[in-house]
Symmetry: C4
Subunit: 255 residues, 4 copies
Amino acid sequence: SDGEKKIRRFSCRLSDLASWENLWKAILGEFIGTFIMMYVGLGAILAQDELLYVALTWSLIMPVLISIFGKISQALFNPAITVVFWLLEDITLLQAIFSVFAQLLGSAAASALQLQLWPLDTRKPYYDGCTFNVPIGDKSGTQRGLINEVVTTCILVFLLLSLTHRGPTAELQHPQTLLVAMAVGATIFCMVMVGAPISGASLNPARSFGPSLVANYWDDHWVFWAGPIIGALLGMSIWYTFVRKVYITEEKKDS
Amino acid sequence: SDGEKKIRRFSCRLSDLASWENLWKAILGEFIGTFIMMYVGLGAILAQDELLYVALTWSLIMPVLISIFGKISQALFNPAITVVFWLLEDITLLQAIFSVFAQLLGSAAASALQLQLWPLDTRKPYYDGCTFNVPIGDKSGTQRGLINEVVTTCILVFLLLSLTHRGPTAELQHPQTLLVAMAVGATIFCMVMVGAPISGASLNPARSFGPSLVANYWDDHWVFWAGPIIGALLGMSIWYTFVRKVYITEEKKDS
Amino acid sequence: SDGEKKIRRFSCRLSDLASWENLWKAILGEFIGTFIMMYVGLGAILAQDELLYVALTWSLIMPVLISIFGKISQALFNPAITVVFWLLEDITLLQAIFSVFAQLLGSAAASALQLQLWPLDTRKPYYDGCTFNVPIGDKSGTQRGLINEVVTTCILVFLLLSLTHRGPTAELQHPQTLLVAMAVGATIFCMVMVGAPISGASLNPARSFGPSLVANYWDDHWVFWAGPIIGALLGMSIWYTFVRKVYITEEKKDS
Amino acid sequence: SDGEKKIRRFSCRLSDLASWENLWKAILGEFIGTFIMMYVGLGAILAQDELLYVALTWSLIMPVLISIFGKISQALFNPAITVVFWLLEDITLLQAIFSVFAQLLGSAAASALQLQLWPLDTRKPYYDGCTFNVPIGDKSGTQRGLINEVVTTCILVFLLLSLTHRGPTAELQHPQTLLVAMAVGATIFCMVMVGAPISGASLNPARSFGPSLVANYWDDHWVFWAGPIIGALLGMSIWYTFVRKVYITEEKKDS
């Protein structure tokens, strides 16, 4: 998309002020987007006891945020996906690093605000390490949790890239982007259904970081960094070697 | 959109009869739209005990109403959003004032009709101050309720304006508007999930006014005026200073 | 749409064999469509005890059927809506009469097939007069049930016509029709949520006829003919005098 | 679609290396797609006790997979549908045979991976013959189960072909295909609601094969081959003699 190229151009010419503005907008976009994602997603977890309510909320807020922030900041909201987009050269290293900080900050700020509405002493389990239902305490639990985070993030990233990185998609305008974003939301719903009872289905280090920080609870926190990042790299690799080739070949034949 | 400009032109020339007709249509549209919204939304609350049923009903009826009444009356149905659209000069002050009256009247009429199907003595809690689950009775509850109404309406209005006030959207035709309206419905679902247990997630003074009137219950009613209006102004400000600029800049570069 | 005009032309020239073929297709389409609607919708009622499951099933199968049978038979599946389309001259009287017979036959056939899977002695309440939860037995219940059927069908038909009978919609192609049909499905979901506990939310004489026939249960059956037909006529009138004018005026100004 | 024709061309000229590549991609696509479908769908069954969660997961993952793999492998993921597409000459016999093997392999691999997260001794009923709720053990149960699999697969294939095999659809681009795929997902949701309590609503031999293999449970397994295949052939026949003709006639008149 246009925003993409503008920011990439910035990596070449640091003197280009317009690009600095774009970078600043992208970072601020990541902060606001992750803040809303976490305020809404964590809020649903704190306010509702029912997994379906939580899963639907996550799967419905994400398409809205993706369609709004897609052209502003690539709508990453997730350090694991940020790494993938940097490796695919969709964003520069500088934007990637700043984006991760903005995501962690947005997650922490939203968690702190929710703490005012749902104090820690009444809702402690919901702030603890991003697990809704089952804490991954013992060794076997940690291992299952790690496998779960790896596989679900792998599937998420594979499907996400297959949906968004297609030739004809590049020219998508609002509101067509909403349809693609809805498919991403549907994927997130499925991953929560499959993974929530095992490890809470974080899929996102930033999503786990904020609640862990305000609750000062760090048991097994590394799982929610290692799992999603390993899974995202795996999902990207499968997409890169298989699906990407298909569409590149097709585009060549079209033109 | 066309309807927008026609009505704005009316504010200049009061002698333009065609515009008077448009204004009348807009007011009647706000009445009918708010009546259906309240008959359906309040009806679901009265008929069902399950929050999910209520949240889904609100989030599914709104896109239908928005796509139908968008070109007739801007599909406001909410005094807080009416204020925002007036400040953004999407509607004149006269249309804004009449719209709010039509919304309150529509809400009251729908509540009165539901009262025939679900008498007050059997369903009193559901008519009381728009709270489904938790009455905000004590001081601390009122404060949490106000914060909740402010933040959720702020997010709603920020996302709503980001979705609907975009350059290319202006030319959207039916049924593309439905996709954008569905995203608004998805946002409403999320806000209900986050806010219902705290203050009933009104987000809309007209939504609270009707049931309060037929039940003659006014405790904490001011929260459902102050909260949504403050939140809407906040959401508009964040949108105005951040997202609006992004798309204006982009449009300039496109043309 | 094209199919519409072809059939209307038929009403003028009875010798036009191609039109006889179109009429035959339309009648067969109403039979197959109503059969699938009833097999799926009644099947969900028989198989599931949860209202949400039933409401989602109805609201998801209808858009699929509407988008498929729209160009074949106008996708009526409902005697009350058939009357409305005849009054609006979308179909001829002949097509209307045959369509109603096909709908009743399709509903009866689907109910008879479901009877093989869910015998009457185990699932009697679900076949009785289309009420899922609350039978409308006493006088007061019948009155509330009638009001409920009138108002919900009125809203359904008002929203349905507002969604489908719009200038630009006429040229809609697959899959854009799916978006409009989804909005109709969303409306049906809302009507079920509002009306199911009062009268089962039939909204459709054909929907009530089939199960009543196989169960030989006719108490209050007239409510499910009078209610939807009165409501449909009311909804059409409001649409005709208000929304239709708006879009006609707009189209004139466009051309 | 393009991919379709390329593969069909391959059936004529075996020396065309590019087509061998397309065939290989199609087979690999069926493996990956069925693997994700089964990992997600079976995973939801294993992780959740609630039918709604399972039905929503299946109905949301399918549109994503169909829109991604449609141009790669026709997104079959189902031996019964593979037979239909072969009879309709959408795929060659060679592709059909390899696709079925890839589907069975993908289903088995996903079931084996889920076995690591949810061991057989804790979740045995969920691996047994694809029934979530009600085992079809006695004679009467088997007969009802067979009827159920036949009728639901018949409706699924009839609606699927009516949605996807339409003139104007052929040129559909991403993300418009998503809308059609969503309608397929909605149909699957409805079939699960109608059929799950009777026979688990498999609709797909590959879906039943994987879990049966890892649990080494083969009681009534033939039902999940015979039922879906008979139903699919029935659904195709009804579509072929009725709906297909309508659109072919229409296209001729258009051109």
